[in-house]
Symmetry: C2
Subunit: 512 residues, 2 copies
């Protein structure tokens, strides 16, 4: 049985009078059986207020207790694996391989935060004993609202990177489930709830709210005791939450990852020498039916032959694909509407694939520069090819681009001396700059940056993928002349957690 109730501060809170909603199998258009309850204002308030009450206690919980909790979440998820993946596929139409891959990614993320806590130095302890005794470390900011993402029902949703990084930081989480995969979300929420019950932690550090209306999310973000927000989704959604949060009496940080067109720049020499290019690009554009924030939505290439080999090869490959439907009919509808608008109102050639909704556009760089709205994301299996005359023209496009999660520069060794100025422009626009491969596929490591200048995200100084995601939920606190016994363990003379600390300017694990 999938829980239809909301989980409010550790209690499944049945509300027979609630408005309800159901999820739909996008493959069959069949309505799935569970009637999920929409969270009420009272439930939202109770969830945040009770999280705020237990915040101090969870904030000062030892890393080893947090590790135990995260390990329990992992076990509970593994225990419901087959059921979870079945519901995931029913609600999203994403294929089995993707479901399994995303499940493994979710488990892998949990393990990476377990490792972070086991090592512990992420609190960045700095001790300065010359002059007043100053000892600084990172401390959690408070209860966090996390929004599930439609395109990643597991890895960027209920037990995804936002939730797990906030738990690792020492912050309670109030999760707003994405209504398109409410069942998947409820199953994961139940796993977290069970993990919490088996840990010696306050149950109030996790709540799970359902809702199709924007009102549930807005009320959550506006709650005066909420201290931060994590969101992955559309520009409209992320910007709306950011505006709400910044115009509260107390503004709070919103980390909204709002997608990108992830341009790929291809030099002429590369185009001539890379035989796998069309295959690689085509696969990346249609991967997951195009529903990746790092989907390459724009491909710029220099081709002085006038033969336009790349677009021809891509069109051919596109006609061979048969794709799964998008995760929800609303998303597919919006995608098709955007294509229609492009076709009717824009200076471009549009070609649609014969067996799927995949599509390609074709425009010259000079026309693109005259139509800035062609730089807006078309979320789905679409890419806009841009014919450039030269690397200089590519550089002009790079300078005109809005902020991006990624850009990719595919060149040949002989081009390198000519790329300085293009790289200079791209550096200002992106969080990640690739020189080989495709932007889809975001490795979960400390060296990853998933976040770029606005409008890609609302705060380019942080990442939502990789262990550094924890820094969104932490702030420094300095203890001055604090008696050793009253200090947090991370700052005590004896270094009982064996952390790497900076003591009077030197990195050391030694005690004082």
């Amino acid at each position: 049985m999938i829980k239809s109730q909301n989980l409010i501060a550790g209690r499944w809170h049945d509300n027979p009078k609630a408005s309800t909603f159901q999820t739909v199998n996008p493959k069959t258009n069949q309505v799935l059986p569970t009637s999920f309850q929409e969270a009420t204002s009272e439930q939202i308030h109770e969830a945040v207020a009770k999280a705020a009450v237990v915040f101090d206690r969870y904030a000062t919980t030892s890393f080893s207790k947090r590790v135990k909790f995260l390990k329990a979440i992992q076990s509970e998820l593994e225990a419901i694996g087959p059921k979870l993946l079945k519901t995931y596929q029913e609600e999203s139409a994403l294929p089995e391989g993707r479901a399994q891959g995303e499940f493994q990614r979710t488990i892998g993320q949990i393990q990476s935060f377990i490792a972070l806590l086991e090592e512990g130095s992420f609190v960045q302890a700095v001790i300065h004993t010359q002059g007043p005794d100053l000892r600084k470390m990172l401390y959690p900011i408070g209860p966090i609202g996390v929004f599930g993402a439609s395109n990643f029902p597991l890895a960027f949703s209920t037990a995804g990177g936002d939730t797990i990084s906030a738990f690792a930081a020492g912050c309670p989480v109030i999760l707003k489930a994405h209504p398109y995969h409410a069942g998947t979300s409820a199953l994961v929420a139940e796993a977290i709830y069970k993990a919490l019950k088996s840990s010696d932690l306050p149950l109030e550090i996790f709540s799970h709210l359902g809702g199709v209306s924007h009102s549930v999310g807005s009320q959550l973000v506006m709650h005066p005791m909420l201290k931060g927000v994590g969101f992955t989704g559309s520009f409209a959604g992320g910007k709306a939450l950011h505006n709400l949060a910044q115009n509260r009496e107390e503004p709070i940080p919103v980390f909204a990852e709002m997608g990108s067109i992830n341009p790929i720049f291809i030099t002429e020499k590369r185009l001539q020498t890379d035989e796998n290019l069309a295959d690689t690009l085509a696969q990346s554009i249609v991967l997951g039916s195009g529903q990746f924030c790092t989907n390459p939505g724009m491909i710029l290439c220099c081709d002085s032959s006038g033969e336009n080999h790349l677009i021809k090869s891509l069109r051919k490959r596109f006609n061979e694909f048969s794709l799964a439907p998008m995760v929800h009919s609303n998303i597919e509808k919006k995608y098709l509407e955007q294509l229609k608008t492009l076709e009717e109102k824009q200076t471009l050639e549009l070609s649609k694939a014969s067996q799927s909704n995949a599509a390609l556009g074709w425009v010259t760089a000079s026309d693109l520069l005259k139509n800035q709205n062609l730089m807006e994301e078309v979320f789905g299996p679409f890419s806009l090819l841009v014919a450039c005359k030269s690397i200089e023209e590519m550089t002009s496009v790079a300078a005109a681009l809005p902020g991006q999660l990624t850009a990719t520069l595919l060149s040949h060794e002989t081009d390198h001396p000519k790329l300085g100025s293009l790289i200079g422009k791209l550096q200002n626009k992106v969080g990640r700059l690739l020189f080989e491969g495709v932007p889809t596929g975001v490795a979960v490591t400390q060296a990853m940056q998933h976040g770029g200048p606005f409008p890609a995200t609302t705060d380019s100084r942080f990442t939502s993928v990789g262990t550094d995601a924890v820094y969104r939920w932490l702030r420094p606190i300095t203890y001055q002349d604090c008696p050793n016994a009253l200090l947090p363990a991370a700052l005590q003379n004896e270094n009982p957690l064996a952390l790497n600390r900076i003591v009077n300017g030197q990195q050391t694990q030694a005690s004082l």
Copy 2:
């Protein structure tokens, strides 16, 4: 001669038609001779737009060139020391010792950022070669608007921590001079201009704008090419800039440090055993005529004797002080108005010093908890004493406090076992928690945190004092599979800058 013109992108831009304004000696009320020009919309636009054009070039400038530039600023400031300090004192009425101390602090800050750049590891290079080759480092965010602070004409103004940390990060700076010390600011701007001319750097990385109207600052913050803002001042000013910045088409980070009441909690045992307490507190409250963001505006103490020794001792000492006037008559006027309102409308006893504007209030904790507006900052030589019955009552006040830069907990060893819950509450409210001494005096070290939860600052995840202030102006960028020759020096295999880097999870200075 003090420059009356604005410095726009490396050129002193005379505008005979400009509105002008003059500064005033607060001691004598004498109007000082220079007629400063108010910056025009065209000048503001030119300053930001030209900074944006040269941003790429400065962002990729070597650390050694930035070091040369900062060293030249230091030399130019030292060369004009006597003239600068004379103007500083004329415009602010702050005494000579303070002027000299603040000058040294400003030089010391520059030196600390020189050391940061010479060492270089602040860019936090992380290299991961297992899987795709991912190399991450910090990169500057773009042109920064910095606002001079009325209460620190040097250390938090034109060549203060905001400007120097932005320059160290690789960001151009557009400085909005504080109109109360426009002459001091113009002298410092000229020193920076000269330093820039002697360096091999684009002159457009620094502009200096004058103005008494809010419009100059608003236009600066609203300029689409500005990427960040540093501000130290009032809550009203900081919040207004934050609102402007967040409601731009592209929101940008604003680091506004808006002051605090910096409560001091004193246990009964401490009150009984610390003979120097009244002296230390009185000195801290009237230091700089109370014009410090870390001024202790609230003192909570447990005194079951009913004798109220502390308030009596403080009153006595207050009557002995003669204080310099505040830095501007507007500030003094606002301070006196706030005292009047407190006297007329609030449940407290107010006692004024006989020879100065210093004042003390006296209220019970239970009355304070009923009047949340008594927790608002009164900027000046004032403190509100709060009579508490117990540590538990102190804890209730701590829980009700708005966010603070600092709190201080003065206790006796025998109290330590009873302080857990009070410390727990205070940790959530402050950036710095002191256990001895007074909050005035903010050491410039890496272990300092000067920034706390809202409304103390707009982003508690950063500090405006100490070398970590550089992180406000940096964001991560990851290079994926980048040819070694195209990588920034900090990420190249050979580690040519000899940085401490994290390579495959291990901290090392070794090359790959």
